[in-house]
Amino acid sequence: MAEAERGRPGRAGRAATAAFLAALVVSGAGGLDAWPFTDWRLFAGLRRATETGWVATAADGRGVERAVPFSALPRHYAGALQLMQGFGRLDDDGRRELCDAWIQAVEEHHASAVAEIRLYRTTVETRSGNVIRRSLEHTCGRS
C-alpha cells in the first residue's frame, strides 16, 4: 500500500498536470501560441493547381538578377519564405537588417557583389513548377 501511495502526485502536481493538459488543448484549438505549445499546423492549408508564393532575386550593379539560393544557404536561412511574406509588415530597421543579411549571404555564396534584393510575389503552376505570373513587391539595397 505504501508503495502504491508513492505513485500518486500531490495536489500541486495534479493541478500543474491539469493546467498542462488544458494548455495543450487551448493551444491546439488556436487559443495560445507559446512554443512548444502550438496549434499543430502541419500541412493544414489546401494545395491547389496554382499556388501563390514568393521568390527573391539578387541583382548586381547592371541589374542582372539571379535567384537567391535559400536551399543552398546555411540552416538559419530556412525561414526565408515566412520572412518574405512578412517583409511588408516590417519597419524600416527590420527591413534593412533582413536585407543586409540576405545580401551578405548571397555575396558569400556567389562571391560577387549584390546591389539589391528584389522580392516577387509569384503564381506557380503546382504540377510543373512553372511560374505563371510574378509581380515585384519590394526592393531593398545594402544600408
Binding site: W40, F43, L46, R47, L83
Partner: protein, 274 residues
C-alpha cells in the same frame, strides 16, 4: 452537474495510486531520446545567424540574437551529460530526476532556437511535451505514462483537427495531397523524389494517403479509451512518419520513436473508460 462524475473518473484514471516497471522504462527511454536529440540535432548550424534573421519563439526570447557556436555546443554538452546521468543513475532517485530536468531544459532551449528562424518547427515538440509529466514524477509512477498517452493523443488529434479547421474535408476529397506531392518532388528535400512524383501521378494513391493521414490523426484519442488500439496506432504512426520522410523528405524520426514508445508502454494499462 452531469459533468462532475466524468471529471472525477478522469481524475482517478489519470492519477492512480499505482506503480509499474513499464513507466520507468518509458521514462528512461524518453531521457535517452532527449540525449540523442540534443547530441545529433542540427543545432550547431544555427550559430552565426545574422541578427536580422532572428525571430525568437518561446523560451528563445531570453536571447536577443542567435547564440554563438560556443554557447550552442555548451548547451548540447550539458544536455547530453545530463541525459546520460538521468539514464545511468536510474536507481538514485532525485539525481536522475534532476538530471532529466536539466537535459529537458537543454532540448527546450535548443528546439526553441531552431524554431526561431522564421518558421515554426514541430520536430522536437512531441518529445518535449510527452516528457513533461515524467520530469518530476517518481520513477515507476503510472500517472506520467497516462498523461503522456493523453498528450500524444492530443497532439495527433489537433494535427488533424487543424487540417479540418483550415481546409475542411477538401483536405481529403480534392487533389490537395496530390499537389503537395508534386511540390515536394521538386523541393530538393526527398532523397528519392520519384516516390512523391509516383504518388502524385496516381490520384487514387494521393486521396488514399490523405484519407489515411487525416483518419489516423483525428482517430488518435481512441488510444486513450481502447487499449487494444494502442499497438495499432503505434504502427500507424510509425508508417505515417516513415512515409512522410520518403515522400516529403521531412525528418520526423523523433515522432516515430516517441509515439510507439508511449503507446506500447501504456498498452497494458487500464483504458480510460473504467
Amino acid at each position: 452537474m452531469t459533468a462532475l462524475p466524468a471529471v472525477g473518473r478522469a481524475h482517478d484514471w489519470l492519477f492512480p495510486d499505482a506503480v509499474d516497471e513499464r513507466a520507468r522504462w518509458v521514462r528512461l527511454s524518453l531521457a535517452a531520446l532527449v540525449g540523442l536529440r540534443v547530441a545529433l540535432g542540427p543545432y550547431r548550424a544555427l550559430a552565426g545567424q545574422p541578427e536580422g534573421l532572428f525571430r525568437p519563439l518561446g523560451i528563445a526570447q531570453l536571447f536577443d540574437r542567435m547564440p554563438s557556436a560556443t554557447v550552442v555546443v555548451a548547451l548540447q554538452a550539458v544536455g547530453v551529460v545530463a541525459a546520460v546521468v538521468a539514464v545511468a543513475a536510474r536507481r538514485r532517485e532525485g539525481v536522475d530526476r534532476a538530471a532529466f530536468v536539466v537535459a529537458w531544459v537543454a532540448l527546450l532551449l535548443l528546439g526553441s532556437l531552431r524554431s526561431s528562424v522564421g518558421k515554426i518547427l514541430h520536430n522536437d515538440v512531441l518529445l518535449l511535451l510527452a516528457a513533461v509529466p515524467f520530469l518530476l514524477a517518481r520513477p515507476r509512477a503510472v500517472w506520467p505514462l497516462r498523461v503522456a498517452l493523453v498528450t500524444v493523443s492530443i497532439a495527433y488529434f489537433f494535427a488533424g483537427a487543424t487540417k479540418l479547421r483550415s481546409s475542411g474535408l477538401a483536405w481529403v476529397t480534392t487533389d490537395n495531397v496530390r499537389f503537395l506531392m508534386y511540390a515536394a518532388s521538386r523541393s530538393g528535400r526527398p532523397e528519392w523524389p520519384s516516390i512523391a512524383r509516383y504518388v502524385a501521378d496516381h490520384a487514387w494513391m494521393s486521396k488514399l494517403s490523405a484519407f489515411y493521414i487525416l483518419g489516423v490523426e483525428v482517430a488518435f484519442p481512441a488510444a486513450v479509451f481502447w487499449r487494444w488500439t494502442r499497438p495499432l496506432f503505434a504502427i500507424a504512426a510509425v508508417f505515417l512518419h516513415v512515409a512522410t520522410w520518403f515522400t516529403l523528405g521531412i525528418d520526423y524520426w523523433l515522432w516515430a520513436a516517441v509515439a510507439p514508445l508511449v503507446l506500447v508502454g501504456a498498452w497494458r494499462l487500464t483504458p480510460a473508460r473504467r
